[in-house]
């Protein structure tokens, strides 16, 4: 029997720093909820809005797989490995922080906010050499499919990380349903609704709701209206 956990959008932690508004599905920085620490290897899911011309000053990271998915606008990234890059909607950025890196991120557009998901996964190996990558996602509109954007394999679709995790983006038309097959036993699936309404294993989900499912081989996902969502398959034990 599958087990589930529901995180409604309006129960997330909220941090409002003026230049940054962050909606946090799991405990992060000043938001601490002992019942919301992680979902398997998924530790951070922040839904961030950065005001135009503002951003995160230089700060460190270590031993974490950090994935950024811009939803609107763009972010300029600089890091201690010498990478200088801009990421925008339709792209994905990944950093393996390993033994330690410093980076900064800011919104170069003075007039429009940048909206992005900041996702952290526990690595399956500590103290790796830090690495950075970003790719442009396939812009072909592929409705009613799961489009893989991340995996543990360098030669597979999307970016890769040091964890047995698979991420997919999807846009389903109203009424479309499809089963997501897990890659491995012991994995769980965390569904984050970007826009629209879904029904997952009988649970209705709305925009920015999160829903975790585990102890199952596959997960049934049905769009109530047109819906965009992110699927994050992660090991529950790591």
């Amino acid at each position: 029997m599958a087990q589930t956990v529901l995180h409604k959008a309006n129960t997330r932690g909220v941090a409002d720093h003026g230049w940054l508004k962050s909606y946090q599905s799991f405990s992060f920085a000043g938001y601490y909820n002992p019942e919301r620490i992680h979902f398997g290897a998924l530790r951070v899911l922040n839904d961030d809005i950065v005001t135009g011309g503002m951003g995160f000053g230089e700060h460190p990271h270590d031993n974490m797989e950090i994935i950024s998915i811009p939803l609107e606008g763009e972010l300029q990234h600089k890091d201690s490995m010498g990478n200088v890059a801009t990421i925008k909607a339709g792209e994905i950025q990944v950093m393996s922080a390993g033994t330690g890196i410093y980076h900064s991120e800011y919104n170069p557009d003075a007039t429009h906010p940048a909206k992005f998901l900041q996702i952290w996964l526990f690595p399956n190996t500590r103290n790796v050499t830090p690495r950075y990558d970003q790719i442009v996602l396939d812009k072909t509109e592929r409705k009613n499919e799961f489009v893989q954007i991340l995996s543990p394999n360098a030669d597979d679709a999307g970016v890769w990380i040091y964890q047995n995790a698979w991420f997919n983006l999807a846009t389903f038309e109203a009424g479309h349903s499809k089963a997501y097959p897990m890659h491995g036993k012991g994995n769980g699936l965390y569904i984050f609704v970007l826009e629209g309404e879904l029904e997952v294993e009988g649970q209705k989900l709305e925009t920015r709701d999160g829903f975790g499912v585990w102890d199952t081989d596959s997960v049934n996902i049905k769009a109530i209206g047109e819906a965009k969502f992110l699927l994050m398959e992660v090991p529950m034990e790591f």
Partner: protein, 100 residues
């Protein structure tokens, strides 16, 4: 008010200093930095130490050695791995480690 002392072990000095600064921002907490397990073992024998955070650069073998050597002398001292290298996860890790 008794200060809770937290040992942070790691090898990346700038990150260690950042973590210490973040911990010390809480007036009830005080960070003590150790750049090796040997250095940490000496500090951890002090009763005022309530938590050990293991940062980047410490191997699994070194962690095992730390746990083994503290098992007799400080058997209830929580030893947890720190992830992230900054403020994001640090406070939740400390609250969990202290059981608060």
């Amino acid at each position: 008010m008794q200060t809770i002392e937290i040992v942070v072990i790691g090898t990346n000095k700038p990150i260690m200093q950042t973590i210490a600064r973040l911990i010390d921002q809480n007036e009830e907490w005080k960070a003590k930095l150790a750049y090796s397990v040997t250095e940490a073992l000496n500090i951890c024998l002090q009763e005022s130490i309530k938590l050990v955070l293991i940062g980047a650069g410490i191997t699994e073998e070194e962690i095992d050695r730390l746990k083994l050597e503290l098992a007799n002398q400080r058997p209830h001292l929580p030893i947890i791995k720190h992830y992230g290298g900054g403020s994001g996860l640090l406070f939740a890790e400390i609250h969990q480690g202290l059981g608060s």
